[in-house]
Structures are given as C-alpha cells and as structure tokens.
Amino acid sequence: MSSKDALLEVSDLKVHFPTRDGAIVHAVDGVTFSIKRGVAFGLVGESGSGKTTTALACVRLVDPTAGQITLGGDDITNIQGTSLRDARKKMQIVFQDPYASLNPRERVGSIVKRPLKLMNIGTATERDARVKELFEIVGLRPEQSELFPHQFSGGQRQRVGIARALATQPDLIVCDEPVSALDVAIQAQILNLLAKLKKEFELTYLFISHDLAVVQHICDEIAVMYLGQIVEQGSKKDIFRNPRHPYTKALISAVPSTDSIGKPREDRIMLDGDPPSPISLPTGCRFASRCPFAVESCEDTPPMLREISAEHSVACHRVDAAGNFT
C-alpha cells in the first residue's frame, strides 16, 4: 500500500469507545487507506458507519485504539505535546455545522488569526496581512473581520471555518460534511470554493459525506464505509460506473434522481431494516443481515477487502477476484 507520494496513510485503524455499562462500541474497526498528495479522497457511508470518527482520528481529535496513521511519512498515531502541535500545522479540519464550529464570543478575524498565534507563525503584522489575504481567498470582505459569528449567514460562517483551516497552509484538510448543514443554493457556493482552493493550493482533502452526489462532484477517490469498515474502495469512475459491493449499489440506487420522475429508479436495491449495533457485531459480513444477495458463508466469515483491479477493492464473498458477481 505504501507509496512515496502518499500524504496520509492509515493502516488497520481501530477506534473503540467504552459505553457507560462497560460494553465496547466498535466505531472504527480496521480501516486501511492512503491518500496521495493533491487527491480528494471521499469517505461515504450512512450514520453510524464510522466515517466521521475515522476522519477525527486522522487529525488526532479522537484517540486511535489501534493501528497507525502517518502524515507525510511521520508517524502521528501516538505523538503528544509539542510534536502533535507541530503536526497540526499540516492538517486542519472544516466542520459540518458552521453554527457550532465558531466560538460565538470571538470576532471572526480573531478566529482566523488564532491558529497563527497558537502556532507562533509570523509577526503580528504578518498575521494581520495573512488574515486579510485569507478573507479574500474564501470570498469574504476583510472589513468583516470585526464581526461576530452570529452576524453571518451559514454559508459565510462556513467560509470563515475554511479560512481558519487554511491559515497555517496545511497539506491535508479534513472536510467533515462541510455542506450538509447548508441550504442547497449555498452548498454550490461552498463546493465551488473547495474545488477552487484544492486546485489553487494543491490541497489534499479527506472528504466525509453521506451525500453521494456531493462526493462524486468533489472527490477523485472514494471509500464506502459500513459499520466501521471499508466495504469498497476505488477511483470515482470505479465506484460509480462499476460498483461491485451490494451495499455500494444499494446506496447509489437509493439516491432519488431527477431522471426518474414520479417513480423510484428501476434498478433500486431496497434494503430492509437498519444496520446492526456497533456494540454487538455479527461474526460474518457486517452487511449480511440486510444484504439481498447474502448466502450462508456470508454469515460465518467476514470478507476481506481485496483488489479486483488496480486500486479497486471490494470486501464481499459474492465478488470474485476478477470482480465478477457470482
């Protein structure tokens, strides 16, 4: 898996939380992927799939239980203190809810300047100039830096959040559902901004979303998560043109589309029920209980993620080594 141009490499990442009554939530349970520089990598999945926890662990906002995370070749899995703070310069995060991610008592200019101050970057004058520049980059007016977050609309707040994430000129930006709290018309503005920034500053994105259309628009590579594990991973073309895992297929077909007016898509794969609880996991394939194609072996042994073509991997007993559905 390891390659020279990989910026972020995650191998066998596990994040487990204890619950109050002593049980273990397997939020992320053995996730491996790597993101090359300049690539937008999408993690898709439904609620409870562990995509957000994975992202938070990658930027060390959640402590990994096991596995390894390297950023630009440096192992950041367990670093603490100064070395962690240094590493944070290179990885930043844009949060989902722009109403919750900005300190309501801080002026937005100060919010954007804060990372520079905390990480001792530049002199006071340089920082002011940088904040001004950042405001322009994300499409805000520098005069607005004196305002408080509540004086902005959701889209503008998200721009402030993006400016804060860009402040230290990071290599990796984790975007955790950056547009799902925004109105549709505003989503386009923010998605275009993110696409423009990626090109202009050669950014690498780890993009978390439940919205397949958004992921398809922004991302180059995609991993589909189900119940703490990656079930399918590949290029954008692989995933959408040639989805192999039944869950990926179900997910894609469940998206209501403007092509089928007045009726559901004909190829829709309906799933029954809900995912099992991440506390008591099934022994076999985690998707087996909802999978319309499950056979006996699916219930017994968990399928491994294996390559079916260059950089396209699937974890399904019903998909053979050549990628054919059997």
Partner: protein
C-alpha cells in the same frame, strides 16, 4: 370534476418581529387534490414549514398569526375554526410528520401507547382493540416484530424506526391529507428509500393526499405529482413535477435545479463548477420591501423587478410563474 381536498387562498402568515408585523408567508394560493402529492420546495426561511403549520392550525401564536386568507379543507375553513374543531380535524382528516422524529415523540410513553392513544381518541376503541390497531399499523409501516416493538420506548428505536413510528401515528386515523415536513432529512438514503416506498404504498391503499415539504430536488422528482416553489414567503412557480424538473421557468427555480450536483452513472474526471445563485436568502425583515425578493440575486433582473412584485402568470397546462420576464413572453 371533484372539488379539491384542500384549497388555500391568499394566505398570509405574519410574525411579530421587533415590534412590527412581518409577513413570512404572503399571497399564497394553491389546491391539493384527493390522492395527489404536492411537493413544496424552497430553502430554509422561505415559509414552507410555516405554510404547513398554518394548514394544521398550528402557527405559534403569539408571535405568529394568520393575518389574511382562507384555508379550506373539504369546505371547513381552518383559519376560523375553533381549537376544538381543529383538534377533531387533526388526526382524523389531516396529520403531520415532522423532520426530527426524536423530539416529536414523547419519551415517557411506549410507542404503542402513543399510537393507541390517538386511535382511541378517534375511533373510540377499547384498550385491547387500540393496542391491536397499533400493532397492525406498526406492521404496515414496516417495523419488524411489531408485537415486541409496540412496548418499546422511543429511545430504544433507531432514527429510521422512530420516523416510521411517527408516520404510523400520523396514519393511524387514515387522514385524507398528510403533511410531511422534510420527513427524511435526518435519515440515511437507504432508509429514505424505504420511507418513500411506504408513502407510495399507503397512498395507493388509502388515497391519502400528501404535501411533501423538502429542499431536495431529487425527492420532489421521485415523489411529487405537482410542485410549488417558494421563495421569501411567496409561491413563485407552480406546475407538474415533470415540467418543474425539465423546463423550470423562474430564474430562481432554474438556479435551484442547476446548482445541485447530480449523481451520474459515468462521472467526468474534472466536473465543471456548479452553477451558483449568488448571495443569500433575504432576512425576514427584508421581506417587507416592495418588488421581487429574488431581484438582488437574479441574473435576469430588470428595473421593474425592484419596485413591483410580478403577479402569478398562467403559462401552458396548469403551470404558473411569478416573474416579469415570463409575463412579457406570454403577452
């Protein structure tokens, strides 16, 4: 032709904001026929949820009130009906499903008790009968082993299950009109597909009319027969869903449809930038200004837009649009 089930005329809902009356819904007129699905589309703050509350007779008062117009449900005017009459209408003839299923269910009662309570109030059933009714309706909405689930408390259910319970409660009395306000926004797409499947099935069976309020164009395309687009408290375009998707007329509708990324079976490597509607929706206080509220964001704006709101113009089969440009084209 049968009279429409619901007939809204010149509806205006006002809110007291900072000491003055601000209309958040204005000049709204539309019909809902028996058994059809009307999609109401718009961004947050466009008045779509307030319209739903007005139909249910649930506008929070104060600060809000219905300041003009009429809402006729099978001839009964909801705007003038007494609270007692409204209570009889709600549940019996119309019911509502909200976006957030957790907060709309009472956490201290089992789901069975909550369904049974509604059933008892409306059908005068005995306790045992109501419980059976609850189990039956839970099965109908696709809840596995309803005999067991009927005794669960809301927190013991997943989000999808809770929303199904909400739908069960709203359907137990077989209403003629179901208002669903973003019923699947908090749910995953695979669960959303299940819920919509359920809606279609029930509509087939009970001929319930549905008002589906959403911001998701894909949902509208899949579910609605007709669509009404709202912007800043007003209806700006109305017509069959297929026309709305294929040939939107109002500049806002056009923008709304082209600004969303659509899922493609064969995605391009480098997608084009999305169309942007510049700016943001006007704040409630700005709504009182004359002219078309969309004018500041409109790419086709003309001088007249800034001073006068365009009347609703009929274009071809059952379509209407409120835009001076459309007006000029038809004249």
């Amino acid at each position: 032709m049968q009279a429409p089930l619901l007939s809204v005329r010149d509806l205006e809902v006002s809110f007291q904001i900072g000491g003055s009356d601000v209309p958040v819904v204005r000049d709204l007129s539309f019909d809902v026929e028996h058994g059809e699905t009307l999609g109401i589309v718009g961004e947050s703050g466009c008045g779509k949820s307030m319209t739903a509350l007005a139909i249910m007779g649930l506008v929070p008062n104060p600060p809000g009130r219905i300041s003009k117009g009429s809402i006729l449900l099978e001839g009964i005017d909801i705007t003038t009906a007494s609270e007692k009459d409204l209570q009889a209408l709600r549940g019996n003839d119309m019911s509502m499903v909200f976006q957030e299923p957790m907060t709309s269910l009472n956490p201290v009662f089992t789901v069975g008790e909550q369904i049974a309570e509604t059933a008892r109030a409306h059908f005068g059933l005995s306790r045992a009968e109501a419980r059976n009714k609850a189990i039956e309706i839970l099965r109908l909405v696709g809840i596995p082993s309803p005999e067991k689930r009927v005794d669960d408390y809301p927190h013991q259910l997943s989000g999808g299950m809770r929303q199904r319970v909400m739908i069960a409660i709203s359907l137990v009395c077989e209403p003629k009109l179901l208002i669903a306000d973003e019923p699947t926004t908090a749910l995953d797409v695979t669960v959303q597909a299940q819920i919509f499947d359920l809606f279609r099935e029930l509509q087939e069976k009970t001929k319930t009319a549905i008002i589906l309020i959403t911001h998701d164009i894909g949902v509208v395309a899949e579910m609605a027969d007709r669509v009404m687009v709202m912007y800043a408290g007003r209806n700006i375009e109305k017509g069959p869903a297929i026309d709305f998707i294929r040939a939107p007329q109002h500049p806002y509708t056009r923008g709304l449809i082209s600004c969303i990324p659509t899922l493609q079976a064969d995605p391009p490597d480098e997608p084009d930038a999305l169309f942007e509607i510049p700016g943001v929706v006007p704040s409630a206080v700005e709504l009182a200004k004359p002219g078309c509220a969309f004018a500041p964001r409109c790419p086709n704006v003309i001088d007249r837009c800034k001073v006068e709101f365009p009347p609703s113009t009929q274009i071809e089969n059952n379509r209407s649009v409120s835009c001076w440009l459309a007006q000029e084209e038809t004249v």
